[in-house]
C-alpha cells in the first residue's frame, strides 16, 4: 500500500509505553549495556560449561573397541551429575541449542521478519512449556536415561592407550570436569596457573585435590547464577504478595505485616540465614535459596506497600472500583504494574546481594559441600594461603557482582524520569 499524499497521515496515537522509554534510556548507558552483556556471557558460560570443560571425551575409541560418545551418554547420568543444578543446566544446554535450530529453520521457511517474529513467539511459548515439563520430569527418576556403568577415568586410560593403533580420544577444550580429582593428589596439589600435569594443561592451576581450577570456576557460575536468580525470584514473589496485601488492605492486616517485617528486619540478615541453615541441618543450595528468600522479602514488601499506598488514592483505582472490579483484579491488574519498576531495580541489586550471600555462606563453611561454589574455593585458598585459589574465584565474584550492580544502576537511572537523557 502506498501512502496517498493528499490524505494527511494519521497521527500516531499509540504513544510510547513506560517500558520502551526505559529500554531506550537503558541503551544509552554504555556501562549498563556492558554489564548486561557480561551477565549474558555468564549465563552462556553456565549453560555451556560441559562443552567447555568435561572430563569425558566427546569421542572415544579404545584400541580394538568401537567408537563411543561418553560425553553425550553421561549427560544426564545421575551418578556423574550428582546435583540437580547441573542436570537442569545440561537440559537447558540442549534446549538452547535446539531453540537455535528452530530459529534457523523458521528463518528459512519464513522470509518476512515480522511474521517470523510472531511465529517464533508462538513456537517459543510451547517450547518453553515443553522444556519446563522435561525439567520437572528430570527431577524424577527416568530409568531409560540413566544407564550408568561404573565410573571410568578416561584420562588414566588415555595415558595407557596413548600412541596405540586405533585409539581415538577427543576431549573438550578444557579436558577436566569439576569433580575429577587427580590420582596423583600429592603431586598435582595446589599447582599454580599454567601447570601441566600428566592429564593435561591447567590454565588456572589446580586445587587441593588436584582438580582443575578453571573447571571449578566455570561450573561455579551455574551455582552462583542459580542461587542468585531463584532466591530473588522467591523473595520477590513473597514481597509482592505481602506488600500488595499490606498496602492495599491497610488497617489491621497492614499493621500485622509491618510488625512481621520489623521483626525480621531487627535480626541481622546474615545471622538469620545462618541460623536457619544450621538449625535445619540442610546445606543444599535449595535450602540456602529458601533461607535467603525468607529473610529478603521485607525490602520488596516495603517498597510495594509504599507504592500501593500512593496509588490507592488515585482516580483510576476509584474508577476501577466503580466499574465493579474485584479487589484482587484491581490489585494485580491495575495497581501492580505501577509498582513494578522499583521492584525490578531492587531485584537486580538483590541478585548481586544473593550471590554475595551464597559465597559468604560457602566461605564460612556453611554452603552446600557437594557443589563447586566460588566461596568454597576462596575458603580453600584462604585456609591454605594459595594466591591462585584466592584470586581466581575472587575476581569471578567481583566481576559478577560489578556487572549486576552496573545493570541495576542503569535500570534505576533509566526508570527515573528525572535523569532522562
Amino acid at each position: 500500500m502506498t501512502a496517498d499524499p493528499s490524505v494527511p497521515a494519521e497521527p500516531d496515537h499509540k504513544g510510547e509505553s513506560q517500558w520502551s522509554i526505559a529500554l531506550r534510556q537503558f541503551r544509552k548507558r554504555s556501562t549498563a549495556v556492558w554489564g548486561l552483556r557480561g551477565v549474558r556471557a555468564l549465563f552462556y558460560i553456565a549453560v555451556f560449561a560441559p562443552v567447555l570443560c568435561s572430563g569425558l571425551p566427546l569421542l572415544w575409541r579404545a584400541p580394538g573397541g568401537s567408537l563411543e560418545l561418553p560425553w553425550l551418554a553421561k549427560m544426564f547420568d545421575r551418578l556423574y551429575w550428582s546435583n540437580g543444578v547441573d542436570r537442569f543446566f545440561n537440559l537447558l544446554m540442549f534446549a538452547v541449542v535446539i531453540w537455535w535450530i528452530i530459529r534457523l529453520v523458521l528463518r528459512l521457511i519464513e522470509s518476512d521478519p515480522k511474521a517470523r517474529e510472531a511465529r517464533s513467539g508462538q513456537v517459543l511459548r510451547w517450547y518453553v512449556l515443553f522444556v519446563a515439563v522435561l525439567a520437572v520430569a528430570q527431577g524424577f527418576k527416568m530409568p531409560g536415561l540413566y544407564t550408568s556403568k561404573q565410573y571410568i577415568d578416561y584420562h588414566e586410560l588415555h595415558e595407557t592407550y596413548d600412541g596405540q593403533d586405533g585409539h581415538t580420544a577427543l576431549f573438550t577444550l578444557v579436558p577436566f570436569g569439576h569433580r575429577e580429582q587427580s590420582p596423583r593428589g600429592t603431586v598435582d596439589r595446589f599447582q599454580g596457573p599454567g601447570y601441566t600435569s600428566s592429564r593435561g594443561y591447567h590454565l588456572l592451576g589446580t586445587s587441593e585435590t588436584g582438580q582443575d581450577v578453571l573447571a571449578k570456576l566455570l561450573y561455579g557460575t551455574r551455582i552462583s547464577l542459580t542461587v542468585g536468580l531463584l532466591a530473588v525470584a522467591i523473595y520477590v514473589t513473597i514481597g509482592l504478595i505481602m506488600g500488595g496485601i499490606a498496602g492495599f488492605a491497610g488497617g489491621w492486616t497492614d499493621l500485622l505485616i509491618m510488625r512481621l517485617i520489623e521483626i525480621i528486619l531487627s535480626v541481622p540478615g546474615l545471622f538469620l540465614i545462618l541460623t536457619i541453615i544450621a538449625l535445619f541441618n540442610d546445606r543444599s543450595i535449595f535450602m540456602i535459596m529458601i533461607a535467603i528468600g525468607i529473610v529478603g522479602w521485607t525490602g520488596i514488601a516495603r517498597l510495594v506497600r509504599g507504592e500501593f499506598i500512593r496509588e490507592r488514592g488515585k482516580d483510576y483505582v476509584a474508577a476501577a472500583r466503580s466499574l465493579g472490579l474485584s479487589n484482587t483484579r484491581i490489585l494485580f491488574r491495575h495497581v501492580m504494574p505501577n509498582a513494578v519498576a522499583p521492584v525490578i531495580v531492587s531485584a537486580t541489586f538483590g541478585v548481586a546481594a544473593a550471590i554475595i550471600t551464597e559465597s559468604t555462606l560457602s566461605f564460612l563453611g556453611l554452603g552446600d559441600p557437594t557443589v563447586p561454589s566460588w566461596g568454597q574455593m576462596l575458603n580453600t585458598g584462604r585456609t591454605f594461603q594459595e594466591w591462585h585459589m584466592i584470586a581466581v574465584p575472587g575476581i569471578a565474584i567481583f566481576l559478577t557482582v560489578t556487572m549486576l550492580n552496573l545493570v541495576g544502576d542503569g535500570l534505576r537511572d533509566a526508570m527515573d524520569p528525572k535523569l532522562r537523557k
Partner: protein
C-alpha cells in the same frame, strides 16, 4: 516529641517479643536434637538410671542429663504429663517390651524417649502399675520407676568450685539416688513372688515418705497443677527466663549467656565504633566533594572507585588483604586480637599491640560501609545542589564554601540519618565474616560458633541481643530525623 518517643518505645516491646517468639519457633521446629557435646560430662550423675534394662534404644546418659539441665525434655506448650494415666504408661512400656516383632522401630524409639522424659510425673502412675503387673512387665515398670524418681544434680559451670551449700545439696541428691539403686527397692530379675511383694511394700513406704516433698506437692494442689501445666513447658520456661532477663546458660561452656555476650562485645565494639566513625566522616566528605564537583574528573574517579569497592564482598577483601599485606608482605599480623605473649607487656605496649593487630580488620570493616554510605551521601547532595534555595544562596552572594557547608550539607545529609538505623545490623553481620577471617574472639565469631555447635541458648541470646541493638538503632534514627527535620511531625 516526648509522646512520640514513648509511643515508639512501646511499639518496640511487642516487636521484641515477636523476635524472641520467632527465634524460639525456629529453634523448636529445627530437626535434629542438640548434641550433648560439652554437656558437662555428667558430674555426680553416676549410674545410668534404667539403663540396666536390656534391648533399650534411647539416649545415652550424658544426652539425658543435658536435656534435663536445659529443660529440653519438657513438652513444648502444654504439660499434660501432670495427670499421667497409668493405662497410658502401661501402653508405652508394653510397646518397648514387645519390641520389633510388633512395633516399628520409630514407635519404640518414641515410646522410650517419652518414658525417659516423663521424669517425676511418671512416679505416681508407675507405683500403681508396680502393684498390678507381674513378671517381665513388672521388671520394666520397676526400671522406669527408678529412672523417673532419679534426680539429676544441677550442672556447674566449667572450672568453678562448688560452694558448701551446693556440695551438701548434691550429697543429699546422690544419697537419694543411691537409695533407689539399693537392695531395699530392687529385686534381681527372676525374683520370686514373695520377694517382689516385699519390695513393692518398701516402695509404698518410700512413697508415703516422699509424697509430701516438693517434687510431688502438685498432686494435692489444683493451682499448682495448673501452674505446672503452663509453666513446666519449654515455652513457659523460656518466657519466664526472658522476663527476668535470664537467657540461660551456654550449652557448651555452661556459662551464663549474658556474661558471654558482654565479654565478647569488647572486641566487636572496638572494631565497630572506630570503623563506624571513620566510615561516616569519610563518606560525608566524599559525598560532598563528589556533588560539589559534579561530573568533573575527581567526582567521576571517586564514583568509579567507590562503585568498585561496593562490589567487593567483605570476605573477599579480608582474604586478599590478609594474604597480601599480612602473609606475603609481613606488614601486619595475619591473625589474632593481640600477640600470644601480650600479657607480659605493660598497658601502653599492650594497647600498641592491639592497635597493630586491629589495622587490617578495621580496614575491612570500614570500606564496605564507606562505599555504601558515600554513594547515598553523593546522591543526597546532588539532589539538594539543584534545589532552589541553593540557587538563592548563590544569588545573594554566598561563597561556594558557605553554600555547600552551611546550606546544602545539612539538607543533603538527611537521607543518611535513615541509614543510621540499619548501620548496626550491617556491622554485626559484617563482624561474623571479618572476625572469623582474622580470628578475633568477638561477637560475630561467638555467633557463628554458637550456630555451628547448636548452642541454642547462646544463639537465642545473641539473636535477642542484636535485635535489641537494632531496634534501639532504629529508634535513635527516627528521633534524630524528627529533631533534624522540622517538617516531620509525629503527632
Amino acid at each position: 516529641m516526648f509522646s512520640y518517643i514513648i509511643k515508639r518505645v512501646l511499639i518496640m516491646i511487642p516487636t521484641f517479643f515477636g523476635v524472641s517468639m520467632a527465634i524460639w519457633l525456629v529453634m523448636v521446629m529445627a530437626p535434629g536434637r542438640p548434641t550433648s557435646r560439652g554437656g558437662g560430662g555428667g558430674q555426680g550423675a553416676g549410674a545410668d538410671p534404667g539403663g540396666k534394662m536390656e534391648g533399650r534404644e534411647g539416649r545415652n546418659v550424658s544426652e539425658r542429663i543435658f536435656r534435663d539441665q536445659f529443660g529440653l525434655n519438657r513438652p513444648l506448650f502444654w504439660n499434660n504429663w501432670v495427670g499421667l494415666e497409668k493405662a497410658e504408661m502401661q501402653a508405652l512400656i508394653r510397646t518397648v517390651l514387645e519390641g520389633k516383632q510388633k512395633h516399628s522401630i520409630s514407635d519404640i524409639g518414641e515410646a522410650t524417649e517419652a518414658l525417659e522424659d516423663f521424669d517425676r510425673y511418671a512416679v505416681p502412675p508407675l507405683l500403681e502399675l508396680l502393684e498390678e503387673t507381674s513378671g517381665a512387665e513388672q521388671d520394666a515398670v520397676l526400671g522406669w520407676l527408678r529412672a523417673s524418681a532419679f534426680q539429676y544434680p544441677p550442672l556447674l559451670q566449667q572450672g568453678k568450685q562448688r560452694s558448701e551449700d551446693e556440695l551438701a545439696r548434691d550429697r543429699k541428691i546422690n544419697l537419694e539416688n543411691k537409695r533407689l539403686d539399693s537392695a531395699e527397692l530392687n529385686w534381681q530379675p527372676g525374683a520370686s513372688e514373695a520377694e517382689r511383694n516385699t519390695i513393692v511394700a518398701s516402695w509404698k513406704a518410700w512413697w508415703s515418705e516422699k509424697k509430701g516433698s516438693e517434687r510431688w506437692t502438685y498432686l494435692d494442689s489444683a493451682t499448682e497443677r495448673l501452674g505446672l501445666r503452663i509453666g513446666d513447658t519449654q515455652f513457659g520456661k523460656y518466657w519466664k527466663n526472658l522476663l527476668s532477663f535470664d537467657f540461660g546458660k551456654s550449652f557448651k561452656s555452661n556459662e551464663p549467656v549474658t556474661s558471654i555476650i558482654l565479654s565478647k562485645m569488647k572486641y566487636s565494639l572496638s572494631l565497630a565504633v572506630p570503623s563506624f566513625l571513620i566510615a561516616w566522616i569519610l563518606a560525608v566528605l566524599l559525598g560532598v566533594m563528589g556533588a560539589a564537583n559534579h561530573n568533573k574528573p575527581i567526582d567521576q574517579g571517586s564514583a568509579v572507585f567507590l562503585f568498585m569497592l561496593y562490589s567487593i564482598p567483605s570476605f573477599l577483601m579480608g582474604t586478599v588483604l590478609q594474604k597480601w599485606l599480612a602473609v606475603d608482605m609481613g606488614w601486619f599480623p595475619s591473625l589474632r586480637w593481640e600477640s600470644v605473649d601480650a600479657h607480659k607487656l605493660n598497658t601502653w605496649e599492650q594497647l600498641k599491640d592491639v592497635l597493630y593487630h586491629l589495622w587490617l580488620p578495621l580496614l575491612c570493616y570500614t570500606y564496605g560501609s564507606l562505599a555504601f554510605i558515600s554513594r547515598q551521601a553523593r546522591s543526597g547532595m546532588l539532589e539538594v545542589m539543584q534545589s532552589d534555595f541553593v540557587r538563592t544562596a548563590y544569588a545573594k552572594g554566598c561563597s561556594r564554601q558557605r553554600v555547600i557547608w552551611r546550606h546544602a550539607v545539612r539538607n543533603g545529609m538527611m537521607p543518611l540519618i535513615t541509614l543510621l538505623g540499619t548501620a548496626l545490623p550491617v556491622l554485626l553481620a559484617g563482624s561474623v565474616v571479618i572476625e572469623s577471617i582474622f580470628g578475633i574472639p568477638g561477637f560475630g565469631k561467638a555467633m557463628l560458633d554458637a550456630i555451628l555447635n547448636k548452642d541454642y541458648n547462646l544463639v537465642m541470646g545473641v539473636a535477642l541481643f542484636s535485635s535489641v541493638l537494632t531496634l534501639i538503632g532504629l529508634l535513635i534514627a527516627d528521633i534524630l530525623y524528627a529533631m533534624v527535620d522540622p517538617r516531620v511531625s509525629y503527632s
